[in-house]
């Protein structure tokens, strides 16, 4: 059900305070992930992390659905949402793949390492988004999930998009097997951010 999180009954179904609260919660999510990524007590990349990010985004506005996988079929923009029964194993599989590949293929040299970090972060973010585990909030949850993956390996999170049209085009056309376009766009955005710091 697209738009399920438009306005919360916690805020008298008023979209403006709902959106403001979601914004505040989203900021707290990123602040938390920044602290975790910088610490020596890293949060493993697993199903619980995906659920925790979503929970923290929507705990105050949509507590009944925050951090809980959906129990009904949805039609997302890409038409990629999996059946309800397949959500858990699909998210688990995506996270295990990310971990498995990082353990085995993570390059040690800088340029290759940077390319690897971005490509793998995009792969997991796209995979989880395509599964569409939550009734709503999948874009927001996967945005900060990728930010955590980038920070985990020392890159800064995505802040602004200098070219949002290119980003959107690349994001919507990406899949776990073909994400070169979104990899290039994210690298470009991150490099612009790095130069301006």
């Amino acid at each position: 059900m697209p738009g399920a999180f438009d306005a919360s009954d916690k805020f008298d179904h008023d979209p403006l305070p709902t959106a403001e609260e979601i914004q505040d919660s989203g900021q707290n999510v990123l602040r938390w992930l920044e602290a975790v990524a910088a610490s020596e007590a890293l949060w493993p990349v697993d199903v619980r992390l995906v659920q925790e990010i979503h929970f923290r985004w929507f705990e105050t506005t949509f507590p009944a659905d925050a951090g809980r996988f959906r129990t009904q079929m949805v039609l997302n923009r890409k038409g990629s949402a999996v059946e309800v029964e397949a959500i858990l194993p699909a998210v688990q599989s995506a996270c295990e793949n990310w971990t498995w590949r990082r353990e085995r293929f993570r390059p040690t040299d800088d340029p290759e390492l940077i390319e690897f970090i971005v490509a793998e972060a995009n792969t997991l973010a796209v995979r989880v988004y395509d599964v569409h585990p939550f009734i709503d909030g999948n874009t927001r949850a996967t945005w900060h999930l990728r930010n955590y993956l980038l920070m985990l390996d020392g890159l800064r999170p995505l802040i602004d998009l200098a070219d949002p049209a290119s980003y959107e085009k690349a994001w919507w056309s990406a899949n776990s097997e073909d994400h070169a376009q979104i990899d290039a766009v994210v690298l470009d955005e991150l490099a612009q951010q790095e130069r301006s710091d």
């Binding site: 697209p2 738009g3 990524a37 923009r77 688990q92 927001r140 800064r156 802040i159």
Partner: protein, 130 residues
């Protein structure tokens, strides 16, 4: 004969209520058992190329592979990454409140775009261009 063999199977402590025995014979907490069962039961629901370590999955892709991205950008990012690493090996970001706010706003704008497109798709029943 050993006296312990006389009494048959050694006495086993019962599993706590929050634990179960898996098909493999191992014991595990309920949530692990549930995950194990769910993954086994639903395995068929996943396409082959979505399963870890299966043929067709890009797990088989090897690294290092030919780099396709702009090396200058990669070097800029690598230099920034090195500067952020602390003596304990963990990075330090010092994100400002404004950066945190802008990143989150970007996510919310993308979510709005996603929802409006999904609604249009549901209305028309047609796939929208990416």
């Amino acid at each position: 004969m050993n006296p312990t063999e006389d009494s048959g199977e050694p006495e086993m402590a019962e599993l706590p209520e929050s634990w179960r025995t898996l098909e493999s014979g191992d014991s595990a907490p309920n949530w692990v058992a549930a995950l194990d069962e769910a993954r086994r039961d639903i395995d068929l629901a996943l396409p082959e190329d979505a399963k870890p370590g299966r043929a067709g999955n890009d797990d088989s892709r090897e690294y290092p592979r030919n780099m396709s991205q702009d090396r200058d950008k990669l070097k800029v990012l690598a230099a920034g990454r090195r500067n952020r690493l602390q003596s304990n090996g963990r990075p330090r970001f010092d994100l400002t409140d404004a950066e945190i706010e802008r990143s989150t706003q970007t996510a919310m704008r993308l979510a709005d775009a996603s929802k409006s497109q999904a609604e249009a798709r549901a209305d028309t029943g047609k796939s929208l261009p990416a």
